[in-house]
Amino acid sequence: MSTVILLAVTGLALGALYFLIAAGISLAFGLMHVLNFAHGAFLTIGAYAGYLVASGGGDVGTGRFVLMLAAGTLAGALAAVVTELLLIRPLYGNTHAQLLVTVGLSLALVALIEELAGSDARGYHSPGWANATTEIAGSAIRGSRFLAIGVAVLVLAALVVFLRRTRYGLIIRAGVENRSMVTALGIDVRRAFTLVFALGGAAAGLGGVIAGSYFGQVEPRVGTGLFIYALIVIVIGGLGSLTGTAVAAVLVGLLQQFLNYYAAGVGDLSVLALLALVLLARPAGLFRSTAS
């Protein structure tokens, strides 16, 4: 029983990390059909931004950790906005070029971070409570797991409120369904898209600090490694569907954890099997492609 709970919570926390990356990719694709391969690198940038703010060694206080979260969020959003304005925007109408330029950017950003911070993993700073364990039904669970789950739930809730209650949200939901008509009505969808990109980058940057505390370390490929799973998550969930992304993230995280434990390392492979299964049975993903 204790193992099951441990695996479940860890799986959920891993799913939370996937969601923090995948949400932004999914919304950007849903609205503008831009598949941003550099999105994983935004997470890495966020993680290192948090690392810089932590400065000193060892554990950090909660106040300092909040600063780290803010720095990661801000850095992720900034990286996303700069990318959108300088690389994505000039290439509208050419989805292949957009795809290629983000692949190139992703490679370049990883190389840049390796150059600046070294390619070795560095220990990540977390407050004491994130590393401390809590006993639940006999299993000892680290605080960072609950942190990841809590943050992902908050981000999901915030995005849902944003999409449902604000004017931008209305435009984005409408734009995901029929971008041509929104534009014909006289609305500049691209301005809403810059915001979507910024929000996605912010979630990924925040996810970087969360990932740092989850893994206890940071390395230049952390985001790009998670990105692959995030990509699988959004395909399973249905591109452009926020709810679908959340459900698929949980599904993939849990599946990976449980199978890696009970079936000695086939967890990663099973994710690909699940992807193949979903593509065969429901090619559009588990959920319809709307920003719902």
């Binding site: 209305l170 008509m181 014909a184 009505l185 006289g186 609305i187 500049d188 719902s292």
Partner: protein, 252 residues
């Protein structure tokens, strides 16, 4: 010189070696309803895409109310009073009917990209939206998801969206497509009423139903192989020998 509500001057579109549109000069006066007819592939929808800015012409210009908008972005033309519907569908299926119309009204009233204002707060946009739904006979369906509407109702909602935008020029791309025969008269009347009581709006209509075209249009534009073959009153166009041989085949 007369100022037309809409004018194209020598409009051309080439994609590689293919000539999609060639030297199309078309005018529409304020309050006029011009039907655009022609076989499939004649360039009717391409003409609409050039007028609205979805594609940029490789030659010629587009004037809206006498103003050259050839280089203007799609959304800016929309704000300037150019409304359109698409051949496929122009509604947002997941959004309620009222929310569909409200989005269009907000786009027109401005402030739609204001992050701080909540979506439901604009009473004026809501009033405009409800009024437009009333005019197309969808008031009772306000809370239904647009995707759950019947085909005919969706076509009406498209017209409500265009109305909510309060445009001076409306382009309708086959609004009757897929309609059952008994729905055609009602929609025909609705399209005619888009011009407004004082004839303040100009309508360009791509349509295959000849009875609709002949009943509604002040003038008919005949397109063939990317060129404008004729632009005249329905009676004269029907009598035109060139039009008959090129498009209609047999005299009507």
């Amino acid at each position: 010189m007369t100022e037309y509500a809409l004018e194209t001057r020598g409009l051309g579109l080439r994609i590689g070696a293919a000539v999609i549109l060639d030297d199309v000069s078309l005018t529409a006066r304020r309050g006029e309803l011009v039907a655009v007819i022609g076989p499939n592939g004649a360039g009717k929808t391409s003409l609409f895409n050039l007028i609205t800015g979805v594609h940029r012409p490789t030659g010629g210009s587009v004037l809206l109310g006498g103003r050259d908008v050839t280089a203007m972005a799609v959304h800016r033309r929309g704000r300037l009073g150019l409304g359109r519907t698409f051949q496929t569908s122009s509604v947002f299926p997941a959004l309620p009917v009222l929310e569909n119309a409200r989005l269009a009204a907000k786009a027109h009233l401005g402030g739609v990209l204001n992050v701080l204002k909540p979506a439901g707060s604009d009473a004026r946009a809501t009033a405009v939206a409800r009024d437009c739904l009333e005019r197309v006979g969808l008031a009772a369906r306000a809370d239904t998801a647009a995707g759950a509407l019947s085909h005919g109702e969706k076509r009406k909602l498209e017209l409500a969206l265009v109305l909510a935008q309060d445009p001076s020029v409306i382009l309708l791309d086959e609004p009757m497509a897929g309609m059952s025969a008994e729905d055609v008269p009602e929609l025909t009347e609705l399209i005619g009423s888009l011009r407004g009581t004082g004839g303040e709006r100009t309508v360009l209509l791509i349509e295959h139903h000849m009875n609709v075209v002949l009943g509604l249009a002040d003038r008919v534009a005949v397109m063939h192989h990317g060129t404008l073959l004729a632009l005249d009153t329905p009676e004269k166009v029907m009598a035109d020998a060139t039009v008959q041989s090129a498009y209609l085949g047999e005299p009507l």
